[in-house]
Every structure is written in structure tokens, then in C-alpha cells.
Amino acid sequence: MNYISHTELEKKEMLKVIGVKGIDDLFKDIPDDLRPKSFNIPDGKSEFEVIEHLKLLARKNATHLTNFVGAGFYDHYIPAAVDALASDPKFYTAYTPYQAECSQGWLQAVYEYQTVICELTGLGVSNASLYDGGTALYEAAMMAVRFTGRKKIIVDSGVNLIYRTMLYAYTSNLSIEFVETPVVHGQSCREDIYKNLDDKTAAVIVQNPNFFGAVDDFSDIVERVHSKGALAIASVYPVSLGMLKSPGEMGFDIATGEGQSLGIPLSFGGPYLGFIAVKKEYIRQMPGRIVGATVDKDGRRGFVLTLQAREQHIRRERATSNICSNEALCALRALIYISLLGKVGLEELARLNYEKAEFAKSVLDKVPGVKVKRSSPTFNEFTLQLSKNADEAVHRMIGKGFACGFPLGRFYKGMDNYLLVAVTEKRTKEEIVNFANSLEAALCS
């Protein structure tokens, strides 16, 4: 099957109109010596056969485990209406709304999404989305470099290591100086940040809750950052914003994050959703698409892609970013998800996550060989100190039907016995108790 509808007769008619004898004449510009040395692709299959093959492969993946792994990517429930509406081909088979009049559905949806992101983060302007939380953080860092004309960035080591690593990879040829400051007792070390903060600093980047799950009020840090003329950037977890102080309330200039938790399936790592929101004064440095409201000649409200002079298709090598298409369909999912939950629902969801995690802490604290790190308050994820190597414990727990958490030794030196555990609203009391019992057994044996 190749989805082509031209019949042999039609092909002949078309070739005649073109004025050539055969299809090969259309490829004459490709010199003979550039023809493929090989093209060993298997023969095609029917739809049924491909589906059966992929079903077999899907069955080789374990989705039976009770999941306590988070580390920035969370197992939240997705309401059926999100899937139903995002599966509408009138959304998903359209493209970037270059022609506004026949793309008002998409343009309005993005305008609504931008509003949601502004409300969640407490900041003035959002773009139409970026690829993921990591690339969003990189774009934020580059905004700060351009805006301040400085090249030093302080990164708190409570920022997800995956994002820090991405940040360093992207900037490896740009002679940007990064300084990592430590996390002490679960929280950003003010002393170290202030020691490194100077008038060469473009930005300070922190994460809330941080990678260990600790929540913080960064207002004090932000104030000091501003006093040096630098920008304060926060990477945040959107579900937590139903409850936690928003980046805007703490005075941050830029907030970024991974929007996967807003109705987007885990899907083995993507597609996800990067979001970015900034204070209004930074709008001209914003990367990517932005939708704005305007009117037509009869005064009717409509939406267009706007402020395009920042973008690669106009500004080329002087663009604010190279990004072209973003993650529109994922942004739509987030918008639908937030619309369903609503103002009260998001708050309740955040509270439910918090309470389940607090309950899990109280149960796990009683398990011999387990110590819950309590130096800082947490949202829905927290750190355990185990009596054994966390990798080993995780391995044993897989056998008991649990993906029991993320071993911190993978990302942090000297933390081989530490385990990061996430508890979302999907985990029941029974699952949490069973988890604690199984962990006890895993640590004893």
C-alpha cells in the first residue's frame, strides 16, 4: 500500500501534458554515477501485518509495574476527553497556521494555551511552545545572555541533570561560563550562589521543586540576582503550580518547564512539551512562534502569528532561535487538560499529589533500613536514604512488580544509597502500603 491514487492511465495523461515519455525522464537531472549504491529496504506489508508486528513489540515493554518513578516525567491520569479531542484530524493534520483565515481554530487554541501558561507561571508572556523542558531551559539561558550581554550562568545543581547536560551540550562552542552551585540539605545553597553572583552574571537558574523533590521560596535569591542586573530563571513542574508559589510571585524573569504532566502520555520520552513564559520586557528576545489577537477590517476579533521579525524565516542568522515548528499538538493537549480540570481541579490535583506523597513518606519512614529525607518540604516527590545500594533495591523491586523510583547515584556522586520516589494521584493507599512492605522485604533479603 502506498496511498497513491494515480491510475496507470492517469499517469500516462500526466506525462503527456508534461511532455515526457516516462517517469524516468523526470529524474534525468540526477547523474548516473549518483544513483543509489544500494536500497535494501524490506518489501511492503499490509496494514494488518504491520499492526500485528507492532503489537508484538509493544508487548515486549513492561507497563504492568506500579510506577513510583518520576524524576521530571510523571505518571498522571489523562482524562478521556483529552485523547478524544487531540485525535481530531482537523487539528492534527493541519500545519503551522501561516494562513490565518483558514487556521483560526489553531490560532485561537494557541492564544488560549499562552493564557494558561501565563496564569500558571504568573508571568506576562508565553510563546506557542518549545520542544521540551530541557530545550526550553536552554532557550531561556540564551535569552538572558542576549539581553544582558553577559556570558556567565550560575546553575543550581538541584536542576534536573538531564537539563543541565543539555544546556552544556548546546552551548559548548559559545564560550559561556557555567558555575554549578551545590544543594545542601535538599535546598539551594544561597551562600554559594551569592559568592559566585557578580556583574558578569547573565542568569541564575534554579528548579522548583528541585530534582530531590524539595520545594523552596526563591524570593530572596531573585532579589539578589536582580541587584546584580542578572536574570532569574526557574524551571518548574506545572502540576505543582496548582499549589506552589508561582515564579511570577517570587519575581522570576523567566519560567520554563516540561509540560508532559498536563495530559501528555509518557510515550517513552516524547513527544513532550516545553513551555516558556517571561516578563513583558523580554518579549523581543522570545524564541519561537507567538500568537496575538487582532481584528479584521470589519472589526471582528481574530488571531495571527505575530512578532515574526524575531524568527528564523525572516531574521535568518540573526533570529532569536532556530526553532521552526514547535509542539503544537502537545500544547493543545495541555490546554484541553487544564480546561477540564479548571481552576479548582488543578488545585485539588496538586493537593492530592501532595497528600499521597506525605502519606507515602509516613509509611516509608517506618520501614527498617529506610530514612526519609525531611530537611525540606516536598511536593509529590522525595528522597529516601536506603541501607543498601539503591540500584540493587530498584532491581529487586522490579521483580516484585514496582518501578520503585530513580536511584540518585546515577546522577549524583556519593548518593548510591539514595532513591527518588514520586507519588502521583494515581497511586492508591493500598499500592503505597504494598510498596513499603515490598521495599522492606527487598532491603532485608
Binding site: V69, F91, T96, Q104, G270, P271, L341, Y354
Partner: protein
């Protein structure tokens, strides 16, 4: 149409969370909690369903309209791939599972898909290895330029700039610049190809790479491409292939055989994954042998026992460019598409895409000035310069097409063609659809002569008319205010 926020009514709910089954916890200290609540819509599930269903009907889409958007390859997106992407074994899989001790065995099916996809793309393009991690075409470009930089750095060769033709996509110079290179622009000659004299002049020991689209953005295949590659290699520069136009040459030639060293593909173009209203895409990057060591971590490998694993021990790697293994659900769809089409299906796709583009060109060239009057590849570029003499612009013709139920072609790109109209019909559209579209294009050309104001007024059949873009940019209104 009202915004979802404007439909909000205090106290209305659209989703019920489960009752809590755990005891109430101590409240989080006040200083960590938000005081200003997020002002989100309060609507019912039906409100939400109706709102978004009505919104979607205000879009043109491939499923509802012919969408000959040049350079975007808006081919039909088969439905069965959507079914595969949501299989629970894929959709519910946490990306960190294979990074746990012994966890690789929990994701064998997913790793197998990635492994085979990388092999298939390597064979289709003639490259040594592929990474499917880049999350979009432009992201692939950035990854590709980072690989080029890592290669030159490893050889301790000082390279400063990247050569890019003036007909290129805007992402090319943007990607080169943000990765730290200067951009040297080479003009296009009178035949629509890279100006060889200017190219030779620009090329020197400081050239890191030459970034080209092939066939180029004018829809033409440059038969001097091998010479261009050889010249680049002679000064130690690498050849970068922008895969936006791969749909023209499947099974007809391979970038790797031509001498390209780095290549990105757009799975949402050539391999039929839906464009999603502007993403998610996927921009896999392929490399020749000498660049393999620099590919981003992790790499999916097949062990001797036939199982698949993630390999992070790559000390020359450029590092992480994506959080995990790419836009997996998109990769799944493209993988399924390639399996279904197979060798002959892929070749037929290109042949018919090129046939359809040439058919459009042949029937339209008496009415619109072709940018270059010769056999094209998968897309043709026309100019509305004749119509401009009557005061009708490419934009006016585009808006007229909307009234007739067609998504307009790409306009004003490539930048070097005056009043450009770039038509990419793709292989999946029928001859009848092409004929109706062509007839409307001809009708517009005639109207330009007889009644230009009819074109200036279009579109008239949409929910709104032409919008005031100046107002949008001068008085930015980028969010709803409560």
C-alpha cells in the same frame, strides 16, 4: 468565537478526581504556597468538547482540504499509525525504565523499534549511522552543526564559518549561527543553482561546512552536487544535507552516496507523520563513518545475544540533545509507515510526488511565470510577477484559493523569487484534485487581468477576513485578561 475563558462560570467542573484515600497531611508552610490563584476556565466536559470541536472546524487540514504547502510535504497521514502510537505498551512506557539496573529488559520492544528505525534510515539515505533523538527538523540541524563542530574540534582544525545558499530555509543560517558559526551566504545563479564562482570564492580552510538542500528549495536537482561536495571536502569542510526535500529522491539517489557527511530528515514530511498544527515533528540525524563517535548519547545497541541496550559510554559524544530517545511516538508512526510502504512503495512515493509537481508546473506555466522553466522535482516554484503588473500579489492569489477550499501554497519563499508561489502537491493527491486546484489557479490569473479587486477582497467565505497584522505586532495582545 468565544474563548474557553469567556465560557467560564464560577463553580462549574469538567473533571472529577478520585476521593482521597489517605489521611489529611500537615499543610505545606504558607510561604511556599501561591497567593494569587491561576485564573483557569471553569467549564463542563461538554463545554470543553464542544469548544474544541468547533475550533477544529475553523482549520483547513490535510484530511479536509488539499494542502500544497511547498517545502512542507503535506501528504496524507495514514490512520493505522495513529492506532499504533497509542498502544499502551508504547504510550504508557516511562522513559527512565531502561536506565534502571536490569531495566533494559523492560523496554525491549521500544528499543528494538529505535534500533531498526536507525538502520532503515541509514539504508534509505546511504549514511553510516543515525540518531533519531532530534525533536524536529530545525533541532536536527542544530544537532548536525554541533556534530560538525565536535568533529573539527577533535581534529584541532580552526573553522569559522558555514556556507549557505541564499535560497535556503531560514533555519539553516539560524542553526549555524546559534551553534557558534558565522554564516557566509552564496547567491543563486541564473539557472537556479548555487553560483559556482561565488561558491569557490567563499570556500576556504576556515569553512566548517556547506549546508545544502537537495533537491534545492527551488525544487531543482543540481547535477553539479558531486563537484560541490568534492570542493568542500578538498578544504576539509563537511557537507550538510537539509532533508526537507527527501520526498523527491527516495530510491533515486542517496545523500550518503553523493558525499554528504551529515543529514537531517523531517519524519513529518517524507515519512507521513502528521504535522500536528505545528509539531511535534522529529528530525533524525544521519552521519558518515567519521562522525559516528560524536553522535549524542544514548545510543541503542544490539548485543550479541540479540537483546537491545542503551550505550552511554561514548566519550567523544556531543552529549544530551534531547531528554531521552527522541519523539518516540512520532518515530513509531514513521517506522510503521516505512514498513508498510517497503522498498517499492517508497520509490513510487517519490516518482508520483515528482510526477504531480511537474504536472502542476506544466499546466500552470502559461499563466504564472515559472521561477525556472525546466523539469522540477517534488515541488515547483512559480512567480506572481506577471500578476503584480495588475496590482495582484501572491498573497491575493493565496487568499482567493482559501475561498475556493484550498490551503494556499507556500508564498514568498524562497526569498530570492519575486512573489514566489511554491507548490508541493505530494504523491497522495488525486489527479482530479490537482485539476480542480489548477483550474482555480488559472481562474485567479485571469481574474488578475479582468477584476483584480475580486482577489484583493478574498477571502470572503471564512469566519474572518484578512487580519490587521500591523496592529497585532504594534499593540501585542498575546493573552486573555480576566
Amino acid at each position: 468565537m468565544q474563548l474557553i475563558f469567556e465560557k467560564s462560570r464560577v463553580g462549574r467542573r469538567g473533571f472529577q478526581l478520585p476521593e482521597t484515600d489517605v489521611p489529611e497531611a500537615f499543610a505545606l508552610p504558607d510561604k511556599y504556597c501561591r497567593k494569587i490563584k491561576a485564573c483557569l476556565p471553569e467549564v463542563s466536559e461538554l463545554d470543553v468538547v464542544r469548544h474544541f470541536s468547533n475550533l477544529s472546524s475553523r482549520n483547513f487540514s490535510v484530511d479536509t482540504n488539499f494542502y500544497p504547502l511547498g517545502s512542507c510535504t503535506m501528504k496524507y497521514n495514514p490512520k493505522f499509525t495513529e492506532k499504533i502510537a497509542v498502544m499502551p505498551g508504547f504510550a504508557d512506557l516511562h522513559p527512565l525504565l531502561p536506565q534502571l539496573l536490569g531495566g533494559g529488559m523492560l523496554a525491549q520492544g521500544a528499543l528494538e523499534v529505535l534500533y531498526h528505525m536507525e538502520r532503515l534510515l541509514s539504508e534509505i539515505t546511504g549514511m553510516a549511522e543515525f540518531t533519531v533523538q532530534p525533536l524536529a527538523g530545525a533541532h536536527g540541524e542544530l544537532t548536525g552543526v554541533m556534530l560538525i563542530a565536535a568533529y573539527h574540534k577533535n581534529n584541532s582544525s580552526l573553522k569559522k564559518h558555514i556556507i549557505i545558499p541564499d535560497s535556503s530555509h531560514g533555519t539553516n543560517p539560524a542553526s549555524a549561527a546559534i551553534a557558534g558559526y558565522d554564516v557566509v551566504v552564496v547567491p543563486t545563479d541564473k539557472d537556479g543553482f548555487l553560483d559556482m564562482q561565488a561558491y569557490k570564492k567563499a570556500l576556504n580552510q576556515e569553512t566548517a561546512a556547506v549546508m545544502l538542500t537537495c533537491p534545492d528549495t527551488l525544487g531543482l536537482f543540481n547535477s553539479k552536487i558531486k563537484e560541490i561536495a568534492d570542493l568542500a571536502h578538498s578544504v576539509g569542510a563537511l557537507m550538510y544535507y537539509d532533508g526537507a526535500n527527501l520526498n523527491a529522491i527516495l530510491g533515486k539517489c542517496r545523500p550518503g552516496d553523493i558525499g554528504f557527511d551529515v543529514i537531517h530528515l523531517n519524519l513529518h514530511k517524507t515519512f507521513a507523520t502528521p504535522h500536528g498544527g505545528g509539531g511535534p515533528g522529529a528530525g533524525p540525524v544521519g552521519v558518515c563513518e567519521k562522525l559516528v563517535d560524536f553522535l549524542p548519547v544514548s545510543r541503542v545497541i544490539r548485543r550479541i545475544d540479540g537483546t537491545f541496550a542503551l550505550d552511554y559510554r561514548r566519550h567523544k559524544s556531543i552529549g544530551y540533545i534531547a531528554p531521552f530517545y527522541g519523539n518516540f511516538a512520532v518515530i513509531l508512526k514513521a517506522y510503521s509507515y516505512i514498513l508498510m510502504l517497503g522498498k517499492s512503495g517508497l520509490i513510487e512515493a517519490s516518482e508520483n510526488a515528482v510526477l504531480s509537481a511537474n504536472y502542476c508546473l506544466a499546466r500552470l506555466k502559461d499563466y504564472y511565470k515559472p521561477a525556472y522553466d525546466k523539469i522540477c522535482m517534488h515541488e515547483c516554484v512559480l512567480s506572481a510577477s506577471r500578476q503584480l503588473e495588475q496590482g495582484v500579489r501572491a498573497l491575493d492569489i493565496a487568499k482567493y484559493l482559501i475561498d475556493k477550499g484550498f490551503h494556499p501554497p507556500t508564498i514568498y519563499f524562497p526569498l530570492i523569487v519575486k512573489e514566489a508561489i511554491m507548490i508541493e502537491p505530494t504523491e497522495t493527491e488525486s489527479k482530479e484534485t490537482l485539476d480542480v486546484f489548477i483550474d482555480v489557479m488559472i481562474e485567479a490569473a485571469l481574474l488578475a487581468k479582468t477584476n483584480p479587486s475580486a482577489l484583493h477582497l478574498a477571502p470572503l467565505t471564512m469566519p474572518i477576513g484578512r487580519l490587521d497584522e500591523t496592529k497585532a505586532a504594534r499593540e501585542p495582545n498575546l493573552r486573555w485578561q480576566p
